[in-house]
């Protein structure tokens, strides 16, 4: 309770300084305290041409009274490994990020949703820089359908939405009156239990919902975050993919043609992002 009180105070302070009541309120690189944990199985096909490129990861939606944080288990592991290394560097013990044994994931975002402000804030990394942008929940114009079905033990109702170039079908339940879901998906009158795009490239399945007996602290991450807009963030992503070594070369590193072609191949195989536009 104390911590959430602190958060509320912080939120207020931040909102006033931002001169707008409803902005993202949490300082995102601080730990997040959750009362409820939802676990999703997140399955995606990273290469639209290769149906064998299907990967399955575990994703978490951490919820407290005011807001929620969504990310994948591997992303949390990556961030915590990085935190250890940075802490050691700070202590001048020297740190090396060991690549072996590190989880491999192309997911490097955390998504925060504020229930009162109806806002969706994304913190995502391009190369090594973290960016933050906020969208209103109204970008998700849900259409509710009369179909009902039990999914994962909950009475669910179907809904559809189009977002960033894909059409999605969702099953939400009002047995859990939490207007939230995996990734940015939220704004329905109940928790999203299953969501998949119509091409079945991306799907999210609720595996567990747990009320935490003692509030749990979700570890944050290190490093600065740069404020931007979604449009500018996407532009930056495209620029990086077009010339991924620009930053490295500007620092005087030598990039061989082999490195370039290998990296181009890798990006070519990751041709199926969740957000197409």
């Amino acid at each position: 309770m104390k911590i959430s009180g602190f958060f509320a105070a912080l939120a207020l302070a931040l909102c006033f300084t931002n001169h707008c009541y409803c902005q993202q309120i949490s300082l995102n690189n601080l730990p997040f305290t959750a009362d409820i944990r939802c676990v999703y199985r997140f399955t995606y096909q990273s290469d639209s041409l290769n149906k064998m490129s299907v990967v399955s990861e575990t994703a978490f939606l951490f919820i407290n009274k005011q807001e929620s944080e969504y990310t994948t288990r591997k992303n949390l592991q990556m961030d915590s490994a990085q935190r250890v290394v940075l802490a050691r560097m700070r202590l001048n013990q020297g740190g090396r990020l060991s690549v072996a044994g590190m989880p491999v994931t192309s997911i490097n975002y955390r998504i925060y949703k504020n229930y009162e402000c109806k806002s969706i804030t994304t913190i995502e990394t391009i190369d090594i820089q973290r960016f933050r942008y906020t969208e209103p929940e109204s970008v998700l114009a849900w259409r509710i359908l009369p179909e009902r079905q039990a999914v994962a033990g909950y009475a669910c109702q179907k809904a559809q939405v189009a977002y960033a170039g894909r059409n999605y079908e969702a099953w939400f339940t009002n047995e859990l009156p939490i207007s939230d879901g995996p990734y940015k998906f939220s704004g329905l009158p109940g928790l999203i239990v299953r969501l998949a795009d119509t091409k079945a490239h991306y799907s999210f399945d609720l595996v567990a919902v747990q009320k935490l007996a003692t509030p749990m602290t979700v570890p944050g991450f290190m490093g600065n975050v740069q404020e931007t807009t979604r449009a500018r963030f996407r532009q930056a992503g495209q620029d990086y993919r077009a010339n991924p070594f620009a930053a490295m070369e500007s620092e005087g590193m030598v990039v061989t043609e082999e490195d370039r072609s290998r990296h181009r191949d890798k990006l070519k195989r990751r041709n199926n992002p969740l957000e197409l536009r």
Binding site: D47, K51, V55, K118, G153, N174, P177, G190, A208, V209
Partner: protein, 898 residues
């Protein structure tokens, strides 16, 4: 055409749906608006409000703003609707109202609502890339003790009678425990003794390359199995002791199995002692079930030769524990130690001693072309002694940038056989005694080293040395007509020794660029063998008689080049290999002045293709040409007494078979739905330079000679299998069907005829463990077999049915009763034979903490079925073999999980 039709249909659909809705919306748009406050007057933001039908279908919804105000528009709907407000920190509020625009002042009372918590059970099978993971808990039931019990029930996985594990119809190439290869090819020692509850999951590693340095390059078609244990360090195993009594001639029975195991980070071990006289065939655990890494083709000369033997009885097509009269001891030690992060040492040593007795009879009727029938009846009583020492010492380094493995193996067998035989027609009694020892030492070395630029160097070397001095004594002497000029004599003694040396060495280079891989391999193999044999008779041999001494020196050299090309893309791959070999073969029996030499260049191209049709389907096809040359057992210029009624001389050109093979199949798997299906067809056309001609005389003696004439055999076969796991019922269903047809010429008593054999089998397997109080297993196979000569009428089909059913019930308190029954039924041209077996098992799992202790009482063969008859039918003969089975027996045992 299609897209245009589709867009027209879509437009129509839109008009029907969207258009009508638009019309309604114009007539009656309603608004539900108002405020939400907490008791005491404070406005509540972020509360969700829904407008629902009476049966709780949401029609429209909205949220309150910071001032607690909401506004929900509804276009249409029933006469009355329910407005409901929900929040995690307030009690739910709802009201049923007429469906018209209206205002509400909602007051919520604070209060945590109880969260409906759910943990969805994970799917029983999950897929991650090329790995399928089967959760053991989802497939196991209470009666499963060892992991093989559970493997049998996993869809897509099959366990054969000898313990061989297959996935999608193809045998696995590796059996790992926590990713380590402790047992290599003899993995049944683990699958039959590792407690199922120590295993977390069974992983199928599809298209598994055991050599990590080749991982990116070549992906074999076969899968590997990995058992992921629950704990990082597992000390487990089982111990079982039993005693009992069997009806005469069995008497007292005993059985023991002590198998401690340890799986830790740096070492793994499985040791076992197993012994019994209850009919359990523990020797099956020593049977190699996979090929060695880098092994190319078969290594024929490394097998134990069968030079001479007593007249055997064969084994009936029922489970081994029904007919095996044994007295077996098996001691085995298997240790794997990681001596440094990349290097491992492994020792696998086993000793087996087994004394088996067989009793039975055989009656063979030959239908000769001149309408005569010859009958041969034998009653047999055999005693077989097996002593086998096997030891492998291996050094293994298997990392991405280096593969080095050297295995030194020792195989010693000291086998002996004695047999008493009575011929009903002549009243003759024959005693036979044979010794067939065999000692072999071999060394296998493999090296794979990736260099820069995608090149990989491979070296492989295999050397083998063996000696096998065998002998057979027969009383009274056989083949008096040929050997002693018709004078009956006391005894015949056949001595035969085969010494063999074999080496195969090759070096290869592989280049890969993009999706292409080019490989080239050059090597040679040399096989040097010497066969000496002497047949002596107690009577003076006929001096002008046939040659009875062999001294055959055999030398076969093969020099080969194997270029290969493969292309790997995202969804398909193809590989072509064109090995070209030069064979130089010499055989010479100097004392007999006989010999032959053959030099030949042969090409054996093969092509295989595979294409993925999405994540669930793939198709594969292959075609190839192969050449097989005969082996030394098919060449002897002087006579050898193979058994008391087979005197054989092979004075013919070396046999050679050229085979064309074509096959294609498709495979489906949906791990989410636990559904597997595959079907494949193959065709082979083989040309043999020998045609076998059999001559049956009036006494039933068969003389077979090889004619120097080409014969062609055509074989078609079709196999399909499907399996489905029904998760909520814990039920696995699998169905298998296969059919084959073989056509080949045959000569009997001088008449040449084309014979055609057709075979069809359907199998069903079902295992149901839906309830806590019981489970059911059932499997059945139906086989139909028929053959025909030329275009003549086919013989009546022989139909064989086999049914095995077992039902278990688990009343409370750790008790278990299992009743199982086997039913065999064969009918057709031979007399109908039926056999029924029933067994009862009572097991009590003691309520101990930690260690699991089971007490067991097993009552086998309740109906005391003592005989089984098996018939074999061909256009020329009807062979009926009668086997004596184990009578009723009772065994009490205690089992402890270590």
């Amino acid at each position: 055409m299609w897209p245009r039709f589709r867009s027209a249909a879509a437009l129509l659909f839109w008009l029907l749906l969207g258009g009508s809705r638009l019309a309604m919306a114009q007539t009656s748009p309603r608004t539900f608006a108002g405020t939400v406050t907490e008791k005491g007057g404070e406005a509540l933001g972020g509360i969700s409000l829904t407008v629902e039908t009476r049966d709780n279908t949401v029609l429209a919804y909205g949220f309150t703003d910071e001032a607690g105000a909401f506004r929900i528009g509804l276009e249409t709907g029933p006469d009355s609707v329910r407005l409901r407000a929900r929040s995690m920190s307030h009690a739910e509020w709802s009201v049923l109202v007429p469906n018209r625009s209206q205002q509400f002042a909602v007051v919520l009372t604070p209060g945590e609502i109880k969260l409906k918590e759910v943990t969805v059970k994970g799917a029983p099978i999950t897929r991650q890339g090329d790995t399928l993971s089967y959760k053991v808990d989802a497939f196991a039931n209470k009666q499963d003790r060892v992991i093989a019990d559970v493997l049998k029930k996993m869809p897509g996985i099959e366990v054969g009678g000898d313990g061989q594990i297959s996935y999608e119809g193809k045998p696995i190439n590796k059996f790992y425990i926590n990713g380590q290869d402790l047992l290599e090819s003899r993995y049944t020692m683990a699958s039959n003794n590792l407690p199922a509850d120590a295993v977390q999951s069974v992983q199928v590693l599809e298209r598994h390359q055991p050599i990590r340095a080749l991982d990116s390059l070549a992906r074999p078609e076969n899968a590997a199995l990995n058992l992921e244990l629950k704990k990082k360090v597992t000390a487990t195993g089982q111990a079982r002791l039993g005693a009992g009594w069997g009806a005469a001639p069995l008497g007292p029975l005993w059985s023991a199995n002590v198998s401690p195991m340890l799986f830790a980070g740096r070492q793994q071990l499985i040791d076992t002692y197993q012994g019994n006289n209850t009919g359990q065939d523990v020797a099956a655990e020593l049977k190699p079930l996979t090929l060695a890494d880098l092994q190319q083709g078969s290594e024929l000369s490394t097998r134990k030769p069968d030079l001479t033997h007593i007249q055997g009885l064969g084994s009936p097509p029922v489970a081994a524990n029904r007919y095996l009269f044994n007295q077996v001891h098996l001691l085995s030690a298997n240790h794997l130690v990681t001596i440094s992060p990349e290097n491992q040492l492994r020792v696998n040593a086993s000793y087996l001693h087994d004394v088996q007795t067989q009793r039975g009879g055989a009656q063979t009727r030959f239908f000769l072309p001149d309408n005569r029938t010859v009958t041969l009846t034998e009653a047999k009583s055999n005693r077989l002694t097996f002593s086998n020492l096997l030891a492998d010492f291996a050094f293994i380094k298997n990392v991405k940038r280096y593969y080095l493995k050297n295995t030194l193996s020792l195989d010693g067998r000291w086998d002996a056989q004695t047999g008493d035989l009575a011929r009903a027609e002549t009243g003759l009694r024959i005693t036979q005694q044979a010794r067939n020892p065999f000692v072999a030492v071999s060394n296998r070395l493999g090296l794979v080293r990736p260099l820069s630029g995608g090149r990989i160097v491979q070296l492989s070397s295999f050397t083998f040395f063996s000696n096998s001095p065998q002998q057979l004594a027969v009383q009274p002497g056989a083949f008096a007509g040929l050997l002693t000029g018709g004078v009956p004599y006391d005894s015949a003694r056949q001595q035969a020794r085969l010494g063999a040396f074999f080496t195969n060495n090759s070096a290869g280079l592989t280049l890969s660029r993009g999706g292409w891989a080019y490989s080239g391999q050059a090597g040679f193999s040399q096989e040097i063998q010497r066969l000496t044999s002497t047949l002596t008779t107690s009577a003076e041999p006929d001096l002008a008689g046939p040659p009875l001494r062999n001294d055959l020196r055999w030398n076969r050299g093969r020099y080969y080049l194997e270029p290969g090309l493969s292309r790997k893309a995202d969804t398909w791959q193809a590989s072509l290999s064109v090995p070209v070999s030069y064979y130089d073969f010499r055989a010479e029996d100097a004392p007999l002045g006989a010999g032959q030499r053959l030099r030949a260049v042969v090409a054996e191209p093969s092509l295989s293709l595979r294409r993925d049709l999405g994540p669930l389907w793939y198709v594969s096809a292959s075609a190839g040409l192969s050449n097989d040359f005969g082996e030394i057992s098919q060449l002897n210029y002087a006579y050898i007494l193979r058994d008391y009624r087979t005197l054989q001389r092979n004075d013919a050109p070396l046999p050679r078979t050229q085979t064309q093979r074509y096959s294609g199949g498709f495979y489906f798997k949906n791990p989410l739905k636990s559904r597997f299906f595959n079907a494949f067809y193959s065709f082979s056309n083989s040309l043999n330079n020998r045609l076998y001609s059999s001559q049956v005389d009036a006494s039933g003696a068969v003389t077979t000679v090889a004619l120097d004439q080409n014969s062609r055999a055509l074989t078609h076969s079709l196999n399909t299998s499907a399996s489905q796991f029904i998760s909520p019922w814990k039920t696995n269903l699998s169905l298998q069907a296969s059919a084959s047809q073989r056509q080949q010429p045959q000569v009997l008593n001088g008449q040449l005829a084309q014979t055609r054999t057709q075979n069809a089998t359907v199998g069903l397997k079902m295992s149901v463990s839906a309830f806590d109080w019981g489970s059911l297993d059932y499997n059945a196979t139906l086989t139909a077999l028929r053959s025909a000569v030329a275009d003549g009428p086919a013989t009546a089909a022989a139909r064989v049915q086999e049914h095995h059913a077992s039902a278990s019930i688990f009343p409370t308190g750790g008790h278990q009763f299992t009743l199982s029954g086997d039913y065999y039924d064969s009918r057709g041209p031979a007399p109908t034979v039926r056999a029924v077996f029933a067994d009862l098992l009572y097991r009590y799992a003691m309520p101990t903490k930690g260690r699991k202790i089971d007490l067991e009482l097993r009552w086998s063969n309740i109906f005391d079925t003592r005989q089984y008859q098996y018939s074999f039918v061909s256009p020329f003969q009807l062979a009926q073999t009668t086997y004596q089975l184990r009578p009723m027996q009772v065994l009490a045992s205690a089992r402890v999980s270590l």
